[in-house]
């Protein structure tokens, strides 16, 4: 079968069989989305440091359905500890801990924790940079191909929800074309499996063209924004795109309390 035919057939089948919504696990976000996200959707979450995007990811990961969390910045222990602190259930959660796999390659031993703040006085910056940059992707040196690991895992049909936090890691190690190709394949699998794929990416690093490509590829785009108003910060979660559901485009102010994301003042844009 020609590549185009394969793609079209899979899309048609997936659309035909698709039915129902999957809850985000956050009541008011479900309300903003009017019932959650349609099965088979790929959702891009854009944010910046300080927007608490990592908390949103963990809250999304606390789910009654089988969920795979691909973590590139936090270790499994760090994720579980935070989830416990918020009292979020993790019994259906499987964590693919790329952060630890990476750290093993990067750290030459447990005694060398890669912390600029802790080690600045003890270790030379040059040495820290060497430690912090080794081991990736190292395909030429026979290291782990983390993009291939991601590609393989996110096709697994046993997971109904998949969270990749974050794409930044792969974009620091692989070309944008390679990452896009992997995500296109993941999107097709996701449609076929009728699962939900969340992809987290930091806005402002990868270039406008790439960001637009990603937004174009995603079925839904959520953006977390932090605005400074005087000495205070206001946080907003915007639904910027929702394929075939224009009515769901909207924005909500949010805060973080002991139970996680609290959305307030939902405003419809369309």
């Amino acid at each position: 079968m020609a590549e185009e035919d394969f793609f079209t057939t899979n899309l048609k089948d997936s659309n035909k069989n698709r039915g129902g919504f999957i809850s985000t696990g956050i009541e008011k976000l479900d309300k903003l989305l009017e019932g959650g996200t349609p099965k088979g959707f790929s959702i891009l979450i854009l944010g910046t440091p300080g927007s608490s995007i990592e908390i949103l990811c963990k809250q999304l990961a606390s789910s009654p359905i089988k969920t795979l969390y691909v973590s590139t910045e936090e270790t499994e222990n760090e994720i579980i500890e935070t989830m416990k602190r918020f009292k979020w259930d993790n019994k259906n959660l499987k964590i693919l801990d790329i952060a630890s796999m990476y750290s093993k390659a990067v750290l030459s031993g447990e005694e060398k924790r890669v912390s600029v703040y802790e080690q600045r006085s003890k270790v030379k910056l040059k040495e820290l940079i060497e430690i912090g940059s080794q081991g990736m992707p190292s395909l030429a040196q026979g290291g782990t191909d983390f993009l291939a690991v991601l590609s393989d895992k996110i096709k697994d049909p046993k997971y109904e929800k998949l969270i990749v936090n974050s794409l930044d890691f792969f974009l620091s190690q692989y070309s944008q074309e390679e990452v896009i190709r992997t995500l296109q394949a993941a999107k097709i699998s996701n449609l076929h499996n009728k699962s939900i794929l969340y992809i987290v990416m930091t806005r402002g690093i990868h270039g406008d063209i790439f960001e637009r490509k990603m937004e174009g590829m995603a079925d839904c785009v959520l953006e977390l924004e932090v605005l400074q108003k005087g000495s205070a910060f206001e946080r907003f979660l915007a639904v910027k795109k929702m394929k075939n559901y224009a009515k769901k485009i909207g924005i909500a102010r949010y805060t973080i309390d002991s139970e996680g994301f609290v959305l307030e003042m939902i405003e419809r844009i369309m």
Binding site: T48, P49, G50, E54, E73, Y102, V106, V114, S115, V116, Y117, E118, R120, K124, L125, K126, L128, I129, E130, I131, G132, S133, L139, A140, Q141, D168, F169, L171, S172, Q173, S175, Q176, E177, T202, G204, I205, H206, G207, I209, F210
Partner: protein
């Protein structure tokens, strides 16, 4: 039109010097990326690789956008000129390149591509510069290596880097020599 690199000859030595001239658009993007790198460093409790990765991703993005992505057969000489023109110069990077061959070059950087912040935050500037260079370099040379020999953040007069285009070849040559 001004060349992106100025050639200076001294005896048998040839030094290529960047011609920094900051452009607002790129400086703005650099500032955003630098702030994100700082944010990630803070959020991660100081894990240096998060900041390096951010800068590296930024470098890869710039390379894809601004340098011809159709060229496959890069050599360091071919890589250097467009990178100086499209990335180093518009970011205000002051640097020299010497001992350029197809596979290797040495560079001394005496004004970071993060120049506004270098006096205030030398560590961050050094980390970000390393990541940025690595992203721009490995985009063209996936089997390459970037080595930092010294940094202004630790009192050196300049940051010294060695760009190696293909460490696989180097390993092969070494093993041939051993045999």
């Amino acid at each position: 039109m001004k060349e992106p690199l100025k050639k200076i000859e001294s005896g048998q030595n040839i030094v290529w010097l960047t011609q920094p001239k900051e452009t607002e658009k790129l400086i703005k993007r650099r500032s955003i990326a630098l702030n994100i790198a700082k944010g990630k460093l803070n959020d991660s409790g100081g894990k240096i690789h998060t900041a390096i990765q951010t800068a590296e991703a930024f470098g890869r993005g710039l390379f894809t956008e601004r340098i011809s992505k159709n060229t496959k057969n890069w050599t360091i000489e071919k890589w250097l000129k467009p990178v100086a023109k499209e990335i180093f110069n518009p970011m205000g990077t002051a640097a020299t390149f010497t001992e350029i061959t197809n596979d290797q070059a040495k560079s001394l950087i005496f004004k970071y591509p993060t120049n506004n912040n270098e006096s205030e935050e030398p560590y961050m500037s050094s980390i970000f510069t390393y990541g940025l260079l690595k992203g721009v370099f490995l985009s063209a040379f996936p089997n390459g290596e970037l080595i930092m020999n010294s940094t202004m953040a630790e009192g050196a007069q300049m940051d010294e880097f060695v760009f190696k285009a293909n460490i696989e070849n180097e390993e092969t040559n070494k093993s041939k020599m051993i045999k």
